[in-house]
């Protein structure tokens, strides 16, 4: 009896295993062809070309390379510390108290996170370049300008992660310490801070990761003086045509990012915070000044570059006007761009829509396979999340170097398709980060409940899983669209010069001298920021799913 039941079960599980791999084949083929193979062969080229590891070491020994590595790490460290310094007080003010305008302030402070890096680069360039609003500070093409831009970007990460954790701390916990005789400060040091430590570590690691992959910021703000590994890869490919050096640099970049990611994963795992039912209290009069003081630096850093960007986009010779915005609709002179900026914008929208569809299909496949934890699921998840551990620049480089010939009968040489594919690869892990926790948060007994009410498996999937996931899925699609719109690192390598996207058009305009070009770049940046911000707003609105607490 027992053995018969066991045989039946073994056979059934063998069948379901087969079905699992059959479904997994689709995302695996996609990731294999457009991610693992290109990136793998770039790394292999860096290590093994001509079976000569000595040449790889020679690249590493060059002063250019060493300085790029040191700059990458130094900028990332400074950016992380700066983000924590500005972000923690803001997280306290937003996560600890309830006050009027709090939701708006939080939304404002988390905006930079969703802005495309190229827009942030343009905004800081508008602020610090020689003719910029704060041009007299002499920060043009200095590491300080880049660090400020990194902080601008990542304060929002700290506010999101730490502020969220702070908010979900049961207020009773610190109060319990107070009733046991702890002063306010000791209650903070011994109860609140340890409870926040995992979130803090996680935020720091994520910020460090983002800082090491901020290609556009360094490319635009560093000019020719500040180079990180990513910009060095770009220069090696585009100016020196030294693919060998680029591959070695890509390898170094992968190692650094993987280390940051491993730390962030470890820090994130410790985050087991219960969400509180208690309500936040209003700040007392004295605390109100504290809240204002805590938010002021972050708000100033938020407003200055954005104001400068808008001001510069309106600045025309002898005053202000909409001339640069009007110029969005004409093809720039002297062949700076082959098309008008509005055509680049249309190209961007179409590309991003295609990227969203590709990433969406792959993400749904992957999510359905890994929502229930298993060892093979963990493997698939690791592969699908891998693009996050490889900077977009490396993804773009890989696609550029490997798909320049026909692979498996598919010829994508210089094809327009490479752009949405690259963007989909970049967006996929971020989509999964939204989707998978939501799928896993579905109470499994809800499925049992539906089944006991007579729902066959497909109706359970439809009425429970799909119904509960719909808002998150819609939000993650919008998110992927926004990511693809603002993507620059990979796009810069694969976009064809005659069909620029909005991001590559902005980069090109910023790199050209002349107030006309720069003004046009700023106007294009404002346009891109508005498009991306509104898509993200829609995504956020959709994300709040109903009754998740039950």
């Amino acid at each position: 009896m027992t053995s018969r039941a066991a045989t039946v079960r073994t056979r059934r599980s063998a069948l379901s295993l087969l079905r699992w791999w059959a479904v997994a084949a689709a995302p695996l083929v996609f990731l294999g062809l457009f991610f693992l193979f290109p990136v793998g062969s770039v790394l292999a080229r860096g290590l093994l070309e001509d079976a000569d590891a000595g040449a790889a070491l020679a690249v590493l020994a060059e002063p250019r390379t060493r300085s790029a590595i040191a700059t990458t790490l130094g900028l990332a460290l400074a950016g992380t510390l700066g983000s924590l310094a500005l972000g923690l007080p803001a997280a306290w003010a937003l996560g600890r108290f309830a006050w009027r305008g709090r939701a708006l302030m939080r939304a404002a402070l988390t905006t930079p996170f969703v802005l495309p890096t190229i827009v942030v680069a343009a905004a800081f360039s508008a602020l610090f370049s020689r003719s910029g609003v704060l041009g007299s500070w002499g920060l043009d093409q200095t590491p300080a300008a880049i660090v400020l831009a990194l902080v601008f970007f990542n304060v929002s990460v700290v506010v999101r992660i730490v502020g969220g954790a702070w908010e979900s701390l049961p207020p009773g916990r610190a109060l319990a310490a107070r009733t046991l005789g702890a002063s306010r400060a000791r209650a903070f040091a011994e109860v609140t801070l340890p409870s926040l430590a995992p979130a803090l570590a996680s935020a720091a690691a994520v910020v460090f990761l983002f800082c090491t992959t901020s290609f556009a910021l360094v490319l635009i703000l560093g000019g020719s003086r500040v180079n990180t590994i990513e910009t060095e890869i770009y220069i090696q490919v585009n100016q020196f045509l030294d693919l060998r050096a680029a591959s070695v640099l890509a390898l170094v970049q992968v190692v650094i990012v993987a280390a940051a990611l491993a730390i962030s994963a470890r820090a994130g795992r410790a985050r087991g915070l219960t969400s509180s039912v208690g309500r936040l209290r209003a700040p007392r009069p004295l605390e109100r000044w504290g809240v204002a003081g805590a938010l002021l630096p972050a708000v100033l850093l938020l407003l200055a570059p954005l104001t400068a960007l808008v001001e510069r986009s309106l600045r025309v010779s002898g005053g202000h006007g909409f001339a640069h915005y009007a110029a969005l609709f004409t093809t720039p002179e002297r062949g700076v761009l082959p098309v008008a900026v509005w055509q680049a914008a249309v190209n961007s929208l179409v590309t991003a829509a295609v990227a969203m569809l590709i990433a969406g299909v792959v993400a749904l496949f992957v999510m359905s396979l890994i929502a229930r934890r298993s060892r093979r699921g963990a493997l698939l998840e690791a592969i699908a999340m891998l693009p996050l551990g490889v900077s977009a620049v490396v993804v773009g480089l890989g696609l550029l170097l490997t798909l320049n010939r026909s692979v498996l009968g598919i010829d994508l040489r210089a094809s327009w398709w490479l752009v949405p594919i690259a963007q989909a690869i970049v967006a996929l892990p971020l989509m999964l980060r939204m989707l998978v926790p939501a799928a896993r948060a579905i109470e499994p007994r809800l499925r049992d409940a539906a089944a006991t009410l007579g729902a066959p498996p497909w109706r359970v999937a439809l009425h429970v899983d799909a119904a509960l996931l719909r808002p998150t899925a819609a939000a993650s699609l919008a998110f992927a669209f926004a990511i693809a719109l603002g993507e620059f690192g990979a796009t810069a390598f694969v976009a064809r010069p005659d069909r620029p996207t909005l991001t590559t058009a902005i980069a090109r305009l910023l790199s050209r001298p002349g107030p006309e070009n720069v003004g046009l770049a700023f106007a294009a940046s404002v346009m891109l920021a508005l498009i991306v911000a509104s898509v993200m707003l829609i995504s956020e609105r959709w994300r709040r799913f109903e009754g998740s607490g039950l």
Partner: protein
């Protein structure tokens, strides 16, 4: 299956049921349990937590696959029948109401699965709301309900498709003592009125006494 059980036209028969959970060593949660429930009867399984009573219930309903043994209803062999085709309902410990549906849609869910048309469904939902004392709350979001109201909705929802057996897994244990006493009596009356055959799992002797027509004790994976 014993020949005496086969003579009954209806009723639940559990024979030599074993439930094991994988692990090293595997955990035997239910170790050879046999049990019959006659139509209209409410049997309570009473025992401390971890005695295997919820696993037994899960195997009967079909949410847990038994390692050995048989589950039959009358002459119908159900051991390998998937949950949704057994015609057994279940009230979960913490309700497990669908958070994305209002009260009426929760209650109507089983009727929808059974293909009952809309008018019939609406009429039936109204009756059930009255039965569990929640008239007029059909449009409420389930998040706005109190714990007691939630369990009433859960009961109405599981009764709606007229299951031939209703499994109740600690249905009142998340409620406070006073409410629990009152609801236990109510649930008994509702089950009697509907003529439902029921299998109740609880660790509260008073609750078992109040709700069940027969109480079986369980310890360490076996009936005693």
């Amino acid at each position: 299956m014993s020949p005496t059980a086969a003579q009954h036209s209806d009723g639940l028969t559990v024979a030599d049921l074993v439930v094991t959970y994988p692990g090293r060593p595997p955990v035997e949660a239910v170790r050879g349990v046999s049990l019959t429930i006659a139509p209209g009867e409410t049997v309570a399984l009473l025992g401390p937590s971890g005695c295997g009573k919820s696993s037994l219930l899960g195997a009967v309903v079909g949410t847990i696959a038994p390692a050995a043994g048989n589950i039959t209803w009358g002459d119908e062999e159900l051991t390998r029948t998937p949950v949704h085709r057994r015609g057994f309902g279940m009230v979960f410990q913490d309700g497990q109401l669908f958070p994305h549906m209002d009260v009426a849609r929760n209650i109507a869910f089983g009727l929808r699965m059974a293909g009952v048309d809309r008018d019939e469904r609406d009429r039936h939902v109204k009756e059930l709301l009255a039965l569990v004392g929640l008239e007029g709350l059909g449009a409420r979001a389930v998040g706005e309900l109190s714990g007691g109201q939630r369990q009433r909705v859960a009961l109405a929802r599981s009764l709606a498709p007229r299951p031939r057996l209703l499994a109740l897994d600690e249905p009142l244990s998340s409620l406070d003592a006073e409410l629990r006493r009152r609801l236990a009596v109510e649930v008994r009356e509702i089950l009697r009125a509907a003529g439902t055959t029921a299998l109740l799992v609880t660790h509260d002797p008073a609750e078992a006494e109040t709700m069940a027509t027969r109480v079986r004790r369980m310890a360490d994976g076996k009936l005693i």
